[in-house]
């Protein structure tokens, strides 16, 4: 038996070596510079499809103390299970920017992505970025609000769709305004959409859509509002009577 030990040891070592080699990132990246702050340049809060890459890359800026871009800083991306990055780590370019393509997980909802770089002392500088994946209901809600609501609720004006936001005596709330919408329950939101602003003592400029949209459409718009809300919406969960 004893004469097999070295052979088996070699075998085990080979397997281990193979495994460890596999786990390493393909090209080792070495930071040549260090930043002191991270900022989102573009590509956060994108609305994507579950399991698919987001339409735009996520671009992160590495800045020094003066707020100038740092070239050559190592930035690493990580996220919850199912989220993948291409690349997962990269060095910042001459503008101090790092770009990665994010693929969100298979279920709908909010994905919080962790972005990390290190400063000169080796201390980690974290940044959290949110990306969104719309399931069937949220996607339906997105399409319904795009057709019926966004002309007034979306302040962004394009030549294709001129916003009516600024023309209204009482400005509507953009749908990502969590501080407003998170205080309203689903039933309240449904009531405002169905019966108009006056139903909740709000602006009469918001008309009633209860005879125009189906109940499913209204539920979908609410689901969309919950998804995009910033700060994020916390579902109240089940409330039980306590003794």
């Amino acid at each position: 038996m004893t004469r097999y030990v070295p052979v088996m040891g070699m075998l085990a070592l080979t397997i281990l070596a193979g495994c460890s080699h596999h786990a390493k990132p393909a090209p080792a990246l070495h930071a040549s510079a260090y930043g002191s702050a991270l900022a989102v340049s573009s590509g956060d809060k994108q609305l994507g499809t579950p399991g698919a890459p987001l339409p735009q890359p996520l671009v992160i800026e590495v800045n020094d103390d003066q707020g100038n871009g740092v070239q050559g800083a190592l930035v690493k991306f990580s996220g919850p299970a199912g989220v993948s990055f291409n690349p997962a780590a990269a060095l910042s370019d001459s503008n101090g920017e790092v770009s990665t393509n994010v693929t969100v997980g298979d279920s709908s909802g909010r994905y919080t992505v962790e972005v990390i770089t290190t400063d000169k002392k080796g201390k980690e500088i974290p940044l959290q970025v949110n990306e969104l994946a719309a399931g069937y209901q949220e996607m339906l809600g997105y399409e319904v609000q795009k057709k019926y609501c966004s002309r007034c609720h979306d302040p962004n004006s394009t030549p294709e769709q001129v916003s009516n936001y600024g023309n209204l005596a009482v400005a509507p709330h953009p749908f990502d305004r969590g501080n407003t919408f998170n205080k309203l329950s689903d039933a309240d939101l449904a009531s405002i959409i169905s019966h108009g602003g006056p139903a909740m003592n709000l602006s009469a400029l918001m008309p009633d859509y209860g005879s125009t949209l189906s109940k499913a459409d209204i539920r979908a718009v609410i689901a969309y509002i919950r998804l995009v809300s910033n700060p994020p919406f916390q579902a109240p969960g089940m409330v039980y009577a306590t003794r």
Partner: protein, 689 residues
């Protein structure tokens, strides 16, 4: 060491004694019988059920969830759909409303969908093996590799198995189908739907019958080599032709071209002009006319800033002066139907002065670099013959009308059931994942990599477009044909409605249906005209046809001015007012004016205070700012009262899909508002604005 022991063992000794034999046999039997319950006891799904119980134990609603939990294998059985799904054996939280926050699979709640799990099961949408009770067996389908789980990013494909018309909640699938129909896929591939209909192409490839009149052989050569280098948005894909192939095909197309038919409207050949000679004033006038005629609604063109601006219904016009011959351009602008009887372009009735300035503007748009490096010797008969052979081989006639080359049926494989193509029939390229979605996606992106001699051209789709096309193809499954008939939601029957008579000829000449839908047939750029006669006043329409101006100031696409004669306007107005009526609105039931001032005042009150119409509409341009709906400053001169009344009562009944909300107005409110709106006659000037 063991050998002597074995030699001591004797079968004879064992079976010598019947009692001993019975004992051994009983023990063996017991062991065999014990395997089955043990195997069951240690099965994967029991482990998941134990984990589920542990998970719910710590939740506040544990009691309710415990009460609902039933141990054992759970099954959804839908005999007529062939569904036997045991997924809920492990996916225990799918129907538990309170588990929405659970992210640990397999216990999460199913996200909200418009269908019941018990009604359709799981595999109809997710694929996989419903009857399996192990993770690998159900998901990866080791036993039936043709039906693994559908990746989440293509999920909308499942909706498309039954829903053949666009759904609001499936934008990716809808886009995929639009691409499939709009990029020529359906001209070579057949796609039959379960209801027996066939998907039809919506693109508009030009006929090549008179191509030599339109452009040069050099341009054709350069275009064939790479259409996207001429225009990034070109619909025609790249056939990756060799220099010799492009040379011979261009030779054949020029040789095959016939002279254009003589037409009274076609002018004498224009002098070839050099861009440098063009009078600057003419070019500026032409550019203004290009804008006024709303050419940009359909055509895109690069502006001074370098941005390509305009619609995608018609070819991009950047560099058009280097593409087409001046005589052809003159003839085309005079009447496009002479060159292409089936064109979507309207016959603008430009004056000869307008025509000259527009021509000068278009010819000043040059891109001489495109053909700069193309030097072709005169074609030989062999080259022309080879060109004809290539045109046949590459299927050019599947899209284009070419003299002497006919379209063949089933030029490319039938795709009616491509979403269920067995993996055993697919030849994968080395290094790619052996799954159907990966194959379809790769095939769309790099069709020629799948073997030598393939003729499918190279497209330049974005990643999102590739995903959308893959989704649309994955919807074409076997299951979609075998599913219960009542599940199928067929496309509405396509309409080929064309107006009749003299007005019909005129509307065909103006190609009204390129932009307007009438009785189910036509484009969606402009309002549906099926109820126009019930909606507008005769005088307004007659005037509008002379001087069309938008009623929605924020729109960038508007109706062009066609320079119609009075007679033509009378024909069109008469026809539209008479034929395009709907029974819900009786035009003569309410007067156009003469409403009591008190009623008008009441309507004004309702407009501004109760219904707050000013958030979207404008009646008084000095105070109102609403820019969503049409401007109503002169609506009393445009619409008839009965239409306004019916619209206020139920807008969607008159125009399905309009975003004007139905406010559930009482008859009295609707009448007062109608009176107020009919009082908005506008000044004569405003009426024409």
């Amino acid at each position: 060491m063991r050998a002597p022991e074995k030699s001591r063992f004797s079968w004879r000794a064992l079976f010598h004694d019947p009692v001993q034999l019975f004992g051994v046999a009983s023990f063996v039997l017991l062991m065999v019988l014990a395997i089955a319950p043990l195997k069951d006891h240690f099965s994967e799904w029991r482990r998941y059920q134990k984990q589920y119980l542990q998970m719910i134990r710590n939740r506040r609603d544990a009691v309710t969830l415990m009460r609902r939990f039933q141990p054992g294998i759970h099954q959804i059985w839908i005999p007529n759909a062939g569904v036997v799904d045991r997924c809920e054996t492990c996916h225990l939280g799918l129907q538990q409303a309170s588990l929405g926050d659970v992210k640990t699979e397999p216990f999460g709640k199913h996200p909200p969908i418009p269908h019941q799990l018990t009604e359709f099961g799981c595999v109809v949408c997710h694929r996989g093996q419903g009857a399996a009770t192990t993770v690998a067996g159900a998901h990866d389908s080791t036993k039936a590799p043709n039906e693994p789980l559908l990746p989440a990013r293509y999920m909308e494909a499942s909706c498309g198995q039954c829903h053949h018309a666009p759904l609001m909640g499936t934008p990716i699938l809808n886009q995929g189908r639009v691409l499939l129909a709009g990029y020529g896929c359906l001209r070579c591939h057949t796609v039959k739907l379960p209801d027996g209909s066939t998907m039809t192409a919506t693109d508009d490839p030009p006929p090549l019958t008179h191509i030599a009149e339109k452009t040069s052989r050099e341009w054709i050569y350069a275009w064939l080599k790479n259409p996207q280098s001429w225009s990034a948005t070109a619909t025609m894909p790249n056939f990756l032709l060799s220099d010799a192939e492009a040379r011979d095909i261009s030779a054949f197309l020029i040789a095959d071209s016939a002279p254009m038919p003589e037409n009274g409207a076609s002018p004498a050949p224009a002098q070839a002009v050099q861009p440098a000679d063009l009078p600057a004033a003419q070019v500026t006038a032409g550019q203004a006319l290009y804008g006024e005629s709303f050419c940009a609604s359909c055509h895109a063109m690069q502006n001074e800033a370098g941005n390509v601006v305009g619609g995608d219904l018609a070819p991009e016009l950047t560099g058009i002066g280097s593409k087409v011959k001046p005589e052809w351009l003159k003839s085309w602008l005079s009447d496009p139907h002479v060159y292409d009887p089936g064109t979507l372009m309207p016959h603008f009735r430009w004056t000869s002065q307008q025509l000259t300035s527009l021509m000068d503007f278009l010819e000043s748009q040059t891109n001489s670099g495109f053909t700069a490096n193309v030097h072709l010797d005169p074609a030989t008969p062999e080259q022309i013959a080879h060109g004809r052979q290539l045109v046949n081989e590459y299927g050019c006639a599947e899209c284009h009308e070419i003299r002497g080359v006919s379209k063949t049926d089933n030029f490319a494989p039938d795709l009616s059931r491509i979403g269920s193509k067995p993996l055993a029939q697919i030849v994968f390229v080395a290094g790619m994942a052996h799954t159907l979605p990966a194959y379809l996606s790769a095939k769309i992106q790099h069709p020629r990599e799948f073997g030598p001699g393939l003729r499918m051209p190279q497209y330049t789709f974005t990643p999102a477009q590739v995903d959308a096309l893959t989704t649309a193809l994955l919807a074409l499954t076997d299951r979609s044909f075998t599913m219960p008939r009542q599940w199928q939601v067929a496309l509405p029957k396509p309409s080929n409605y064309r107006p009749a008579g003299r007005a019909g000829e005129l509307m065909a000449d103006l190609n009204c249906q390129t932009c307007h839908r009438i009785n189910g047939n036509g484009g969606d750029m402009a309002p549906d005209l099926s109820a126009e006669g019930s909606s507008v006043q005769r005088q307004w329409l007659y005037h509008f046809l002379k001087d069309p101006n938008t009623i929605r100031p924020t729109l960038i696409r508007r109706m062009p001015k066609f320079n119609l004669s009075n007679r033509e306007r009378t024909i069109l107005t008469d026809y539209i007012m008479t034929v395009y009526q709907i029974p819900q609105v009786d035009r003569d039931s309410m007067p156009e004016s003469g409403y009591p001032p008190a009623l008008v005042e009441q309507g004004k009150e309702l407009f501004y205070s109760k219904y707050d119409c000013q958030s979207c509409h404008m009646v008084n341009p000095n105070t109102d700012q609403g820019y969503v709906g049409p401007v109503l400053t002169s609506v009393g001169s445009r619409l008839n009262a009965a239409w306004i009344y019916a619209w206020l009562k139920d807008p969607q009944a008159l125009r399905p899909g309009t975003i004007d909300p139905n406010r559930n107005m009482s008859d009295a409110d609707a009448r007062a508002l109608t009176a107020f709106l009919m009082a908005q006659k506008g000044s004569g000037k405003e009426a024409n604005q």
